[in-house]
């Protein structure tokens, strides 16, 4: 008994030392149960966000107003499915199957980013998602490339590399609208007005209310606090909005010389919590559609499995 406890202590010390030394933890290394659980929760939520995030943009693939834009949007939405796959793979290294994770998504036991519960009402929303939503996601994700868990960090490196075009295409799309006809400009402004605040909410609750933050930072799963990243994002967006010729819908947004940052108005956390609770404009549609796709596809997955069972050794 004494030796087991001792061995556990040695393992824990090795884990702590590896994290402290900025080494990566790999799948077969010993890790605390809570570390594993935190990673599964976070990676799954991230993967779910990628695949639910397909829907608001796929909503415009068939209506894209030029063939160039259609190709770009298709490629982008395809990347999101790919990124979902990279992330489910990373989660699977922790011993949970994709089916189990999808089941938890479909039954509401795991979450996805609330941002995707907002509707895409116009073509400009595709641009606003690229610029603001992907921009916020990238701000969040770049530090994750140095996350202490190896497979997650590697997936993020790949995703960040591929996503660099996502934000630029959104920005370029909005620029074309902003500099286009009056109606197009209005469409762009309307989209930014609707997406700005939800994008700021993507960084999560303020630091003093964030339940998981402190431990995640100690484990180097997370490298910066929610408020720190949110501030970074606001500072990046202000000059970009100016260059677009669009305004950000916040009368309190002003440069603070002393802090060296922009001050911004209060975020409506009631809305955030309500959307999180399931009362957003599209929560039911998003999950409903995902579940339907999964159920409608069951016979296809079964057929392929049955075929493989019949012809198993044929050509492996």
């Amino acid at each position: 008994m004494a030796t087991t406890v001792e061995a556990g202590g040695v393992r824990e010390a090795a884990f702590d030392a590896a994290v402290a030394a900025d080494e990566r933890i790999e799948p077969r290394d010993w890790m605390p149960d809570a570390y594993r659980a935190t990673l599964v929760r976070q990676i799954a939520q991230h993967a779910h966000s990628e695949i639910i995030g397909i829907q608001p943009e796929a909503n415009w693939i068939t209506r894209a107003p030029s063939l160039r834009r259609k190709a770009i949007l298709m490629a982008k939405v395809q990347d999101e499915a790919g990124h979902g796959l990279y992330l489910y793979s990373a989660a699977e290294t922790l011993g949970v199957g994709r089916d189990e994770l999808l089941d938890k998504l479909h039954t509401g036991r795991q979450k996805y980013s609330s941002i995707f519960n907002y509707p895409t009402l116009t073509w400009a929303d595709v641009g606003a998602i690229g610029w603001l939503v992907d921009g916020a996601a990238i701000t969040n994700q770049v530090p994750l490339c140095r996350c202490s868990y190896g497979p997650y960090a590697r997936a993020m490196v790949r995703i960040c590399k591929e996503e660099s075009f996502h934000q630029r295409q959104g920005y370029e799309l909005l620029l074309a609208l902003s500099q286009g006809t009056e109606a197009q400009h209005a469409m762009a402004q309307d989209a930014v007005d609707r997406w700005w605040w939800p994008s700021l909410m993507m960084f999560g609750p303020p630091d003093d209310e964030s339940s998981h933050s402190a431990q995640s930072m100690a484990w180097k799963i997370k490298r910066h606090s929610n408020d720190e990243l949110r501030q970074r994002f606001v500072d990046i967006c202000v000059p970009q909005a100016e260059a677009l010729g669009l305004t950000l819908p916040d009368p309190d947004l002003v440069w603070n010389e002393e802090r060296g940052h922009h001050d911004f108005g209060p975020i409506d956390w009631d809305e955030f919590r309500e959307v999180l609770r399931g009362n957003g404009p599209c929560n039911d549609e998003r999950i409903g559609r995902r579940r339907r796709a999964h159920e409608d596809g069951a016979w296809v997955r079964e057929a392929a499995a049955a075929y493989a069972a019949k012809h198993g050794e044929a050509k492996a």
């Binding site: 107003p65 939405v77 796959l85 074309a176 286009g180 197009q184 296809v300």
Partner: protein, 245 residues
């Protein structure tokens, strides 16, 4: 790519529209799968195919004129795609049957065009590599659905039968393309028959064209779902005349 200015012969124009519209319309249909795929890996695969087709369409339409004017401002009767590609996605089996029929045709056709002196030869040489993969994808799924479970076999047989009557049109001469259409049809039939048989499916026995003598897609006569598809595709572009995107 957005402005095609080189003048081409009227017969080649007809052919470019027919082949370009085929690719455009099928890309549009495949794009509808985003978010609905039976498994994530398959969404990625279908999107790859759609992107290849969209690239082909843009190239071909640009030979004729401005790709966006052609895609967004023509009326239904001006589209020259075959009726097969405009058929709704249906279940996954219908999509796969449509892919099998069309990609087999397209591969055979572009293989031949690549060796001609027509303005299509360079495009065909590139496209044929993409299409070989599309056909391979369709074949593999036809085998798995046909020889999978009783349910999948029934669905695949139904889809194979339902789309059969749109396959005759594929072998109507297009423009003045120097292709032996009878030989193309024979090769197509041999190839498709072999896949269906390996998939333990029955080769459909029904007619390969509809009974309506008014014409078909190549003459601008389309099926009911096509109008709705175009309305969706074109409405935003048409709501902002003259705008750039």
């Amino acid at each position: 790519m957005e402005t095609g200015t080189a003048p081409i012969r009227p017969a080649d124009r007809t052919a470019a529209l027919a082949l370009g519209d085929d690719a455009l319309v099928l890309a549009q249909r495949l794009g509808e799968w985003a978010g609905h795929g039976p498994v994530l890996e398959e969404e990625v695969a279908l999107a790859n195919i759609a992107l290849d087709l969209l690239g082909q369409a843009r190239h071909l339409l640009s030979l004729v004129g401005n790709e966006d004017e052609l895609a967004y401002l023509r009326e239904e009767r001006e589209f020259r795609n075959c009726q097969l590609v405009e058929q709704p996605n249906g279940d996954f089996a219908h999509t796969i049957a449509r892919q099998l029929y069309f990609s087999t045709y397209q591969e055979l056709l572009h293989n031949r065009l690549a060796r001609t002196g027509t303005p299509f030869a360079p495009l065909s040489a590139k496209a044929v590599k993409e299409i070989a993969y599309h056909r391979d994808h369709a074949e593999h799924w036809t085998l798995r659905l046909g020889d999978g479970t009783p349910e999948s076999r029934e669905r695949m047989q139904r889809a194979t039968d339902a789309l059969w009557r749109y396959t005759g049109e594929l072998f109507e001469p297009v423009g003045e393309l120097p292709v032996d259409w009878t030989e193309l049809n024979d090769s197509w039939l041999a190839s498709v028959t072999s896949v269906l048989e390996r998939a333990t499916l029955t080769v459909p026995e029904g007619p390969r064209r509809g009974a309506w003598t008014a014409g078909a897609g190549r003459e601008g006569l389309h099926t009911e779902p096509f109008g709705r598809m175009l309305a969706e595709m074109q409405h935003l572009h048409r709501s902002h005349p003259g705008a750039s995107w």
